[in-house]
């Protein structure tokens, strides 16, 4: 890609970007949220047209008018927000748009897909329906979709944001297998450690421009300063991820769960007898691989799912930051101002909406939480993942709830945003407590007071980070189900 320029009214998302990919290469596209990585790849995959610049495949200039054109040239993209139809099965989703036949032999296709999934280590049941699958499993379906269409250039947008360490390893071995067969991979991420582990080449974007393009081997020769060098290139300054957590005395119980049983969307129970208690001033982390019942447990606590058995005791107000940002936590077609009052609109409309109040509220939050682009009337679907997450956090935290439930709050966020989010969560302890649901061990260890590992709907153990450090080593075992 040469000299790519892409504008969205006032914003230049890509500013004269050059990008080269070699056959069989794993090329990481690195940068902070809003740097222009996803935009650039959407141009390559045919979703957007560049305002200026050109794309060359094997020396030939090409013009993609739609993703179909890109797919015809064997380029496919797996997006950050999956494009799967929840009610259809895995096979049906993979077949969608890929089959010109009028009649499809489903069992035959199931076998075919089973074969692909075994070959590349992408474990998933072809007969399941998408809504029954965890995020990690859904991602495997997305990749299988691309593999079925025999893509030669595979673009992955933040693929590891909702995966555990184990799943990331599996993904990386799949990617290595693919490159051995001549597939080239572009990997959008902001996670430096992963980049150093898997990528051959890195292009760093900062505020729409290319800040650096380097061979990974060269960086590794810099001996341990590699990550901070990359971080500097991404952000333009020194970045150290640290957490400053002062002691807060804990108080009375904010949330009490007693023998909770919750039915999932599949035939089995998702939550099988969970009990724990959460006190004022505490951050309680529920750590687990996606799909072990934490989603259903949270839905039961917030009232989006009914309880089969057990008791939930709660004191005071509660706010919820869902994992599913774009569909549940926000209304994509509505403006930033309107989205910032989604869970508190009743406070702004006594008895009718005071537009000035809404606008002031919006401006205040945009400033405090650094939401970009900072225009109240833009539809929220134009925001990058990180900015959307900041918007949602802004909305929920500003209501100063006694209990804040945060699901995967830093998924897909870069270092500085993650740092900010952790700071906000820690400061929330002054108002009450935080129930943190995450699959990221580092995150949970960094900010929680107590950690519970969830596996197949039950809590394996509850560990106090300060008082029981010896148990911390056992956490990864617990996540895999070993007592």
């Amino acid at each position: 890609m040469k000299g790519i320029i892409k504008r969205f009214s006032r914003i230049v998302a890509n500013n004269k970007v050059d990008f080269d990919l070699r056959v069989g290469e794993i090329h990481a596209l690195l940068g902070e949220n809003g740097a222009g990585k996803t935009t650039l790849m959407k141009i390559l995959s045919g979703l957007y047209q560049p305002d200026e610049g050109k794309i060359l495949i094997k020396g030939q200039t090409v013009r993609f008018r739609s993703p179909k054109d890109a797919m015809d040239m064997s380029i496919g993209m797996v997006h950050q927000h999956f494009e799967l139809v929840p009610k259809l099965t895995v096979v049906e989703n993979i077949m969608l748009g890929a089959c010109k036949a009028v009649f499809i032999d489903i069992p035959e296709k199931e076998k075919e897909i089973q074969g692909l999934s075994e070959k590349y280590g992408l474990d998933v049941n072809p007969k399941s329906r998408i809504y029954q699958l965890s995020v990690g499993e859904q991602q495997r379906v997305e990749i299988l979709k691309m593999l079925y269409r025999k893509v030669k250039i595979l673009i992955l947008d933040e693929p590891t944001s909702s995966l555990t360490a184990n799943e990331v390893e599996k993904l990386f071995s799949t990617l290595r297998k693919l490159t051995k067969e001549g597939c080239s991979i572009i990997f959008i991420t902001h996670k430096l450690e992963e980049v150093l582990e898997i990528a051959d080449y890195i292009t760093v974007l900062r505020r729409g421009k290319v800040a650096a393009a380097v061979n990974v081997k060269r960086i590794k020769q810099m001996n341990g300063l590699a990550t901070s060098e990359l971080a500097k290139m991404m952000v333009g300054r020194e970045v150290i991820l640290s957490v400053d957590k002062n002691e807060i005395s804990t108080g009375k119980e904010i949330l009490g769960i007693e023998n909770l049983h919750v039915q999932g969307d599949r035939r089995e129970e998702s939550v099988r007898g969970i009990s724990f208690s959460l006190n004022m001033g505490e951050i309680f982390g529920i750590l687990g691989v996606a799909g072990n019942g934490q989603k259903e447990m949270v839905e039961a606590i917030v009232g989006l799912r009914s309880i089969k058995d057990g008791e939930i005791r709660r004191k005071g107000s509660m706010n919820y930051v869902p994992e599913d940002r774009i569909n549940r936590a926000a209304v994509p077609g509505m403006s930033i101002a309107d989205n910032l009052i989604l869970t508190s609109y009743k406070d702004f409309s006594k008895p009718i909406f005071h537009k000035g109040l809404v606008r002031n509220h919006g401006r205040k939050l945009i400033k405090k939480y650094d939401i970009k682009p900072p225009f109240l009337s833009i539809p929220v679907k134009q925001l990058s993942g990180g900015n959307l997450q900041r918007l949602i956090l802004a909305r929920e935290l500003s209501q100063k709830p006694n209990l804040l439930i945060a699901e995967q709050p830093t998924a897909g966020l870069d270092i500085s945003s993650t740092e900010q989010v952790w700071k906000f969560l820690i400061s929330q302890r002054e108002n009450g407590a935080v129930l943190l649901v995450s699959g990221n061990l580092k995150e949970v260890l960094s900010i929680s007071d107590r950690i519970a590992v969830i596996f197949r709907g039950s809590l394996m153990d509850i560990i106090s980070v300060k008082n029981q450090p010896e148990k911390i080593e056992k956490i990864e075992l617990m996540m895999a189900g070993f007592v």
Binding site: Q49, G303, R328
Partner: protein, 356 residues
């Protein structure tokens, strides 16, 4: 030199206005073909229509007479559509509103204080249309029956009920063979303005335009409706009571159509007779869509459609062209707009030879 069509490119507001203009031009040009087939000069035809509709007080008043029920039905459909509820039943709700208010006019109006008659008729019209529209809503939330089917089929039920009433049950014995109810007592007439047939119904229509704008922009309920229409999942997250709103929104939507029925019956016909159900409910669907659910555009589009219909009637009288031609032109406009919406997503690139 080569011309290529490119999808999804950025389009400036200026281009959008040009495109809208060309769409209208395209619709009128296609309409001209019809006029030529009918043996008439299309320019003369259009000018006659415009002249008749806007050139005299009488003409414009007749346009407003037709625009009144169209506006109310357009608002009815648009209001429900904001929450992705497809109200195809405005026609039946209009009829039920007419029936309920006629009931008040014929049987109640002489027994209550005369200044309460019109307000009670308005309430009756709202209730009649509202109840009729709530049936599809309840069925949807109780048994997940699609409201498109139920509201459409209920139109026929309403019309049959209506026919029974004015042919048989409420028929005027002194009617001299013409099917219809007795004429309403004078106190149940909607007042008319300036010696034209424009009646109080227009005031209700204009008031409703502002009411709906107000509801959407300034009330809790309006906010809930907008969120529910955009994302059910987000609405559930925001603890919005979706099912309750479904019924309330449909009731309100039906009430608007009911007022249309009431005002036709009490402002134009002064009785229940054939002609109450003349398709305004369906025209409302067209208008709501063309106006992109914007209440002010509903009003302007309705006036335009009123002009089309009156223009067509006028041409029939003056040039013996079937007035159905205006119905055909309505369809051409809709199809042009649909095609235009498709076309505006593409950009035509003209490459004058050589590289860019």
């Amino acid at each position: 030199m080569s011309i290529s069509i490119e999808k999804g490119a950025n389009i400036t507001p200026l281009t959008k206005t040009f495109k809208a203009f060309f769409i209208v031009l395209a619709a009128l040009t296609l309409g001209s073909i019809l006029f030529i087939i009918a043996g008439v000069n299309p320019f003369k035809a259009y000018i006659t229509m415009i002249g008749a509709s806007f050139g005299s007080l009488y003409g414009f008043s007749e346009v407003l007479v037709r625009a009144t029920p169209i506006t109310l039905c357009g608002l009815s459909v648009a209001f429900a559509a904001k929450m992705l509820l497809w109200n195809i039943g405005a026609e039946g709700q209009l009829v039920m509103g007419g029936i309920f208010s006629a009931g008040v006019a014929l049987f109640l109006s002489e027994h209550i204080p005369s200044f309460t008659v019109i307000p009670v008729m308005v309430i009756a019209g709202c209730v009649g249309g509202g109840i009729w529209a709530s049936i599809p809503a309840v069925l949807k939330y109780w048994k997940r029956v699609d409201e498109v089917l139920t509201s459409l089929l209920l139109n026929y039920v309403a019309i049959f009920l209506f026919q029974n009433l004015y042919y048989v049950t409420w028929r005027d014995p002194a009617g001299r063979g013409f099917p219809g109810t007795a004429k309403f007592p004078g106190i149940a007439f909607l007042p008319r303005f300036f010696g034209t047939r424009v009646h109080l119904g227009l005031v209700f229509a204009v008031f409703s335009v502002f009411l709906i704008y107000f509801i959407f922009s300034y009330t809790k309920w309006g906010y809930e409706i907008r969120v529910s229409g955009e994302s059910t999942e987000a609405a559930r997250y925001a603890k919005i009571k979706i099912n309750r709103n479904m019924v309330l929104v449909m009731f309100f939507s039906g009430a608007l159509a009911g007022i249309a029925g009431m005002s036709e019956a009490s402002g134009i016909h002064f009785r229940l007779m054939e002609g109450l159900a003349s398709g305004y409910g369906y025209t409302g669907i067209l208008v709501a869509f063309l106006s992109k659910l914007n209440p002010f555009l509903v009003l302007t589009t309705s006036i335009l459609f009123g002009a089309l219909i009156f223009g067509g009637d006028h041409l029939q009288v003056v040039a013996q062209i079937p007035s159905a031609i205006s119905t055909v032109i309505q369809s051409i406009i809709l199809l042009s707009v649909l095609f235009g919406a498709l076309v505006t997503r593409y950009r035509i690139n003209v490459n004058m030879g050589g590289e860019r």
